[in-house]
Amino acid sequence: MLDEFDKSIINRIQADFPIDSRPFARIAMELGLNEDEVIRRVKAMKDSGIVRRIGANFVPGKVGFVSTLCAARVPDEKIDSFSEVVNRYPGVTHNYQRENTINIWFTFIARSTEEIEENLARIRAETGVDHIMNLPATKVFKIRAQFEV
């Protein structure tokens, strides 16, 4: 389980990982640990799966991409084959089966709105699933960076 140092490290590195030659030394200094200890703890949290990755997250619009949420009504027996087709697209980054008549929800990032529409048309044709809604966000009220543990 996580002890208090692990929790402080996690809370420290989620939103604002030091962009600094020795990032772990910097964190260590702030938390009163040494660099090796911080590296050991971060590795352990990676190994146990609490930390999925450490890296940068981008605003799609600012790197010249568009993103959207798509939702489909897929018959139970088609869910696996449908998601196999959908997941093949690298721009589909998240895909969940949810408890609703509209049951498959996936995010799609691409170069343009047209590219997304073309891909959705291709997915409809290949899977025979006609009911796919394209629901781009028109306003963002919140994207949270930090989960306090």
Binding site: I50, R53, F58, V63, Q97, L135, F141
Partner: protein, 164 residues
């Protein structure tokens, strides 16, 4: 609005969107792969943060393993004249990680979406009930996730060739 990115910036973006090595000098490793100095890489990264191109730089957690075991997407049907006030109110809940407005469709009348996190599904349900009361919105649906079919990070600019 999309910003103009140089090929070097695109290469840096491609190199830092995955998983950073957990070593004393991770940036030095990445920089040497790109054929640039560590100092130059740090400078470009800080600039990408300053320009708001990097939204968040740091660790991504697996929520199931960090105490947030359940999550629900909650879709709300909100009167358009109140959407800004309701969106802001819902965004202010600790348990809400994402809050967006999206256009409704003929078959799906909802126009506000929140991701609600909790210890378990009952916890998510309770939070949604409180949000509904506080915002005076009574038409909503909780969509609990039943199966994760894919979860990755976007890979931008994989095709950009080294210029240095």
């Amino acid at each position: 609005m999309s910003e103009l990115l140089t090929d070097t910036e695109k290469q840096v973006i491609a190199s830092i969107q995955g998983d950073m090595p957990i070593v004393e000098r991770p940036y030095e490793q990445i920089a040497s792969r790109l054929g640039m100095s560590e100092a130059r890489l740090l400078e470009i990264l800080r600039d990408l943060v300053d320009r708001g191109i990097i939204r968040r730089f740091g660790a991504t957690l697996r929520h199931q393993k960090s105490g947030f075991r359940a999550n629900a997407m909650v879709a709300w049907q909100v009167d358009e004249t109140r959407i800004d006030a309701v969106g802001k109110l819902m965004a202010s809940f600790q348990a809400v990680s994402h809050c967006y407005r999206r256009d409704p469709t003929d078959e799906w009348p909802y126009n506000l979406y929140t991701m609600v996190h909790g210890q378990d599904e009952a916890d998510c349900r309770q939070t949604a009930e409180k949000m509904a009361r506080d915002a005076a919105v009574d038409r909503y649906e909780l969509l609990f996730s039943r199966r994760e079919l894919k979860k990755t990070s976007m890979q931008y600019f994989r095709e950009v060739k080294s210029e240095v």
